[in-house]
Chain length 472, copies 2
C-alpha cells in the first residue's frame, strides 16, 4: 500500500528473473543507480524494492556492495501454480461431513415464503438495539482484550434471572455458556459427548442440522418415532445421548408429556446418557404458559440449549447452553478452543436489553404478533382447505405442519414446483425423516409464519389451495 507502482513492478520483474533461473543464487544485481536509470525511477524507489526483496529473502544486501541473489532458491520448481483440483487428505470428520446432504437454499418467493426459521425484519427492536449498541460501544474498556470463554459475566447474570423468570430454570451463571446460536451448542455437545460409532437417539422426524452435527462427529443415529405427545419413550435403546425438542417437537409440534419426560429422564439415569434439550422456540406458547423445560427436572442429565434466533433474529447468531455442573469446564474449554468466545459487543447489547426489561417487552410484543399471524394462518387454512388439511403442532412455536389429506407424498415435488412458479415458497416434511426409516404416505408441508404479514399469509394459502386442487 505504501509501495508505489514502479517499485512493485521492479520487485515482480526481479522475482520473475530469479524464478526463471535468469538470475541464480550468488549472482550480483545491478547497482541501485543503474537499475534506477534502466527503469526511469528514483534511487529511493529501487532501494525500497531491494530492501523489500531482501526482507522476503530473495536478496542479500551488504553495505557498500551490490545486492546478490540469496542461496536456497534453486531448489524450487518454476513457480508454476499447482492445479490439483482434488483436495489432499481429509479427516474422517470431513469425509462424513461431505457425505451429508447440503440443505436447500432459500429461493425468492413473490407472494409468500413459508420458509421456517425466518422472522419479519419489521419485528426487530431497532431502536432498543441501536440505543444499547451505541451505549456498549462508548462503554468499551480502556483495553480491548479477549473475554471469558463462557461469555460475559454481565450477560450470564442477566440470563440467569431471565431463565428463572421466564422458564423456571434455576442455574448458576457458571453453568451458562454463550454460544453462536443453538447450532454451536449442538455441535459442542456432539464433540464433547460422542465418539465415532456411538449411538444417539434422534427424534424421527427431527431437526436435520442436529442429526448432521451428531453424525459428522461419528455418531450413529437411532431414529425414534414421535407422535402428538412428542418422542415415544416406550422402547428407548441404549445410547450416549438423546437430542429432543420437548417444548415443541420439531417439526410435528407435539409437547412431550409429563409421563414421557419422566420416562426419558429415567432412561438417561439408567444408561448414563445425556439429554440435549433443544428449546428452540420455547417462548412461543399461544394458549397457555410455557411448559418448564426438562432441565428443571434433572439438571445433571440435561444440557439445555436456548437461542435468540426466534425472538430477535437468526442472523445475530446468539444462543446459550445451560450445562450440568460436571460438564461446565469441558464446555468452557471447548468454546475457548473453538473460537475463544462470542462477540463481546453483541453480548453487551443483549445484557443491556435483558437487564433493562426491553428484551421481555420485546418478547411479549413479538409473541402477540406471532399469535395473530398464527390465527390468520389457521383461519385461512380452514377457509380455503377445510377438511382437506390436517394441521399439527399449532399450540406452540412459529410454524404448523399441514398434512394434505388424500394427497400422496409422491406429489410433493410437483406441488412445490407449482407453488414456486406461483410465487410461494413451500417446504416438505419428508426430508426431516431419517433416511433409513419409512416416510409418511401423505404429503405434508411445514408452514412457517413468523416472517409473513396477514395479507401474505392469506394470499399464500389461497394460492396454495388452488395448486392443491390441481394435484389432488
Amino acid at each position: 500500500m505504501e509501495q508505489d507502482g514502479i517499485a512493485r513492478r521492479i520487485i515482480a520483474a526481479i522475482k520473475q528473473r530469479i524464478h526463471s533461473g535468469a538470475n541464480r543464487p550468488g549472482d550480483s544485481l545491478p547497482s541501485t543507480r543503474a537499475l534506477a536509470a534502466e527503469w526511469g525511477a528514483s534511487r529511493t524507489t529501487v532501494t525500497a524494492a531491494y530492501n523489500q526483496l531482501a526482507a522476503e529473502g530473495y536478496l542479500i544486501i551488504r553495505q557498500g556492495a551490490r545486492a546478490i541473489v540469496a542461496a536456497g532458491l534453486e531448489m524450487t520448481s518454476e513457480g508454476a501454480p499447482h492445479t490439483a483440483a482434488q483436495p489432499r487428505n481429509l479427516s474422517a470428520f470431513a469425509r462424513r461431513l461431505l457425505a451429508l446432504p447440503s440443505p436447500a437454499g432459500a429461493q425468492p418467493a413473490r407472494v409468500a415464503d413459508f420458509r421456517y426459521g425466518d422472522l419479519s425484519g419489521a419485528d426487530f427492536p431497532v431502536l432498543a438495539w441501536r440505543r444499547a449498541s451505541n451505549k456498549a460501544i462508548l462503554r468499551r474498556g480502556a483495553r480491548l482484550r479477549y473475554g471469558d470463554a463462557q461469555g460475559s459475566l454481565a450477560l450470564r447474570n442477566a440470563l440467569q434471572s431471565y431463565l428463572w423468570r421466564a422458564r423456571g430454570i434455576n442455574c448458576a451463571p457458571d453453568q451458562i455458556v454463550i454460544v453462536n446460536g443453538s447450532q454451536q451448542g449442538l455441535d459442542l455437545c456432539a464433540r464433547l459427548l460422542l465418539d465415532p460409532g456411538d449411538p444417539f437417539v434422534m427424534e424421527n422426524p427431527g431437526y436435520p442440522l442436529a442429526r448432521h452435527a451428531f453424525a459428522a462427529a461419528g455418531g450413529v443415529a437411532v431414529p425414534v418415532a414421535v407422535d402428538a405427545e412428542g418422542l415415544r419413550t416406550d422402547s428407548l435403546p441404549p445410547a450416549r445421548l438423546a437430542c429432543v425438542t420437548p417444548s415443541h417437537q420439531f417439526p410435528l409440534g407435539g409437547v412431550l408429556s409429563a409421563a414421557r419426560r419422566r420416562s426419558l429422564l429415567a432412561w438417561a439415569t439408567a444408561t448414563g446418557a445425556y439429554i440435549v434439550e433443544d428449546d428452540y422456540d420455547g417462548e412461543y406458547r399461544h394458549d397457555i404458559t410455557p411448559i418448564p423445560p426438562l432441565q428443571t427436572l434433572d439438571a445433571e442429565a440435561v444440557i439445555y440449549v436456548g437461542t435468540f434466533s426466534k425472538t430477535l433474529s437468526p442472523t445475530l447468531r446468539l444462543g446459550y447452553l445451560v450445562a450440568p455442573a460436571g460438564l461446565c469446564r469441558a464446555f468452557s474449554e471447548a468454546k475457548r478452543l473453538t473460537d475463544r468466545h462470542a462477540p463481546m459487543l453483541e453480548q453487551d447489547v443483549l445484557a443491556e436489553l435483558l437487564t433493562s426489561g426491553a428484551y421481555e417487552r420485546h418478547v411479549r410484543s413479538i409473541r402477540r404478533k406471532n399469535t395473530e399471524r398464527r390465527e390468520v394462518l389457521l383461519q385461512a387454512l380452514a377457509d380455503h382447505l377445510g377438511p382437506r388439511v390436517a394441521v399439527a403442532g399449532a399450540e406452540t412455536g412459529l410454524h404448523v405442519v399441514a398434512w394434505m389429506n388424500g394427497i400422496a407424498a409422491g406429489r410433493e415435488p410437483a406441488i412445490i414446483a407449482a407453488a414456486h412458479a406461483a410465487g410461494i415458497g413451500l417446504y416438505p416434511v419428508s426430508p426431516l425423516y431419517d433416511p433409513s426409516e419409512p416416510r409418511p404416505e401423505t404429503a405434508g408441508f411445514i408452514l412457517g409464519y413468523a416472517g409473513l404479514d396477514a395479507e401474505a399469509l392469506r394470499r399464500g394459502v389461497a394460492v396454495l389451495a388452488t395448486i392443491l386442487a390441481e394435484h389432488r
Copy 2:
C-alpha cells in the same frame, strides 16, 4: 410470566402431590369450584392451572368431568435431584481437551500490562463503526433469515479486493470463509484435516492455542525449531499439516525467508501436507512493505488465516480463511454445522468499512500509532536495560521478545511475581515451547505494546528494570 402467583402455587402444589404419590394416576382432582374455594382464588385461575398441568401431561381433562391424574407418572422416582458431580461419558476429544493446560487469565496491572494481543480501546474507530452499524441495522432485509455459511457475499467481495490490494492475495470470493476470529479458522482446519494420531508440524516455540486446537483433534505435535528466519525447514518430518506464522513468527518474531518459504512449499507438495498460514498480524510491518503471504506462492497447499483482532478488536471475533479451491466445500459445510455463519450485522458493518475505504484509513492510523509505541518501547528498553536485554522480533507485529541476558529462565516466576506486585503484567516466553522439548536457559518475556500509551510503556520498562536489577 402471564401466569399469576396463585396459579403458579396451585400448579406446584398439585405436582408435589403427584410426585409424592399422594395423588396417583387415575385419581380425580377436586372440581375447579372446590379448589377455587380452598385457595381463595377465582375459578378462572384454577382452570388456567389445570390447563397448564394438562398441557404438561400431568392431568387429563374431559369436558364436564373432573380432571384426573395421567397414567405413566408412577414409574418415576421421587423427583429428588441427581447429585452426581462427575460427568458421565465424555468423548476422546473432551478427554484430550481437558488434559490440556488452561491459559492463565489476565490479572489487573496498575502501571502497565504487557499482555500480548490486547489493543487500546482508544484506537477503536468508534465513529466509523457506529455509522456503519446504524446503517446496517436500518438496511436489514424484510426477512431475517440464515445467511450464507461462508459469510455475506458483500463482505467476501470487499475482502477479496482488500486482500489483493493489501496482501497481494489473488483469490475468488468463493475461497473466502468468514470465521469467528482466527481461532475458529484453526479449529476448522484441525477438524477437517487431522485424524487422531496424525502428526502436525508446529513451530517451537509457537502459538499455544493453535497447538491445542490440533492436539485436541487428536493430532500429534511434531515441534520444529525456529530461529531468526522463522521455521527451520532443513529437516521437516512427514506430517499431515504444518501450522506456521511466516510474516512474524509467534512469538520470536522472525520473518520466514524466501528460501525457507520455497522449501516448506516443496515439502508440502512432496508429502501432500497442507500448510496453515496464520497471518495474525501481517498488517504491522514497521520499516518496509508487508511481505506477501505464503498463500500467494501456492494457493493449493496453503490455507491462509486472517483476522481483524489486531486491527479492530479481539473482542469482535471476526476473521477469515482463504481456502484452496478443492477445500471450499468442506470448509463451507463445516462452518454451517459448527454455527451456521458469522453474525450478519457485524459482517455488514465490516463490508461497509472495507468498501468505503474507512477500514484502510483506520489501518494506516493504527499502524502509525503502533509504530510510535514500538519506538517508545525500544527506546525505553535501550535506556533502562541497554546490553542487559536482547530484543527479538521488533521488525513486525505488535510485540517484541526481550531476552534478559545473564538471568536464568528459572528466575522467571519470581520476576513475574515481583512485577505483578509492582503493577506490571509480565508474560514469559517459556510456556510457548512444546512441553516435550528443552526450554531456553535465559529468562525471556513477550512484551505486547499495542494496548499501552507512551507513558505506561516508559513507566513499565523503568519499573521492570528495577525489578530485574534485583533478580540478577
